[in-house]
Symmetry: C3
């Protein structure tokens, strides 16, 4: 069994942002030399997400509006977590979007349907944060 590990780093200019990381993960799969296995990609922070969906800007705006309705950022005082912080909404938004994605690797490639793209979802940005890529297989 082989294993591979890499960190991907981000520092977004805005509090919230969705970034397509599919090419980065594909590069990891190639570097790993693993032909058959599983690839785990997870946020290493609890106010960010890794998820799979469509790379379509209208949908990304819909997700922003929808998450703000399900778990609004403001008023900050509505959350008990926000006594010294202001990011309780980011913890909840990441819960909706998910921490991680596990993907199959087949013939040395991400085994994806036609529209699947991997995103880093930042919900409390403007600082350095990272994603873990771990691959095991043969």
């Amino acid at each position: 069994m082989k294993s591979y590990r890499k960190e991907l780093w981000f520092n977004t200019a805005t509090r919230r942002l969705l970034i397509n990381i599919t090419p980065d993960v594909q590069r990891c799969v190639s570097e790993s030399g693993i032909k058959e296995g599983l690839c785990l990609v997870n946020a290493m922070h609890i106010t960010a997400s890794v998820f799979i969906n469509d790379d379509e800007s209208g949908l990304h705006q819909d997700i922003e509006v929808w998450l703000e309705k399900l778990a609004p950022e403001k008023p900050y005082s509505q959350y008990r977590h926000n006594s010294y912080e202001d990011n309780a909404d980011a913890h909840l938004k990441r819960t909706v979007m998910g921490r991680e994605v596990t993907m199959a690797i087949t013939n040395g490639k991400l085994d994806f349907g036609p529209w699947e793209q991997i995103f880093y979802g930042e919900f409390d940005g403007k600082r350095k944060k990272r994603v873990l890529v771990k691959i095991i297989g043969e």
Copy 2:
């Protein structure tokens, strides 16, 4: 290490439907010959879901009503994604329900609690769509 891969295909008569795929996945586990390992089952489409819950028709109706409250199908115009499409709600519903399930295989079987059943959740059906089963182990 052994690996196994199979696609399961669906074509639902209705836009939304929940289908119990536990027997299909169990058959894959048997076919794989893998005794100890991990089994990943994921939707290969971004408007469908694979999740684990109860096979109880009342609950399935509750899920339908609940998802329609969290991410209503109509009016289509409420979503920016719906300029050429009408399925933005399906992208959001699948986000709530999740893309994938990772399960343990022990002694050649799905290592499940008493009520766990695997479902394919279709949220934009009436067309051919598929699920990936990938198993690794020994």
Copy 3:
């Protein structure tokens, strides 16, 4: 390839409770002797959750309030599932929080960011329920 399996049991005094199980899972990783691999931790019941977030009591209260807004326990009669049962809300709350977490193991340890902690989320307690830990790797 090595594999490891353990069940963790819980019996909460209240209907809903979040329990930090990170030390229990770390002990499993040590016991397994696996240095590089993947660790799956999942609820074996469909009214409970395993998820990763912050161990901060204010946030845990926010999660309780938020889940009650998204999927209220009462009135019980609002759910079709509740003809002989009263736990439909627990099925929905667990859907939001997730069934399972897959984590990387690197150098014999959970490969975590600084604030990641694993929780058992009980949404229909006051009875014996369990979590599965499965680890594969080398």
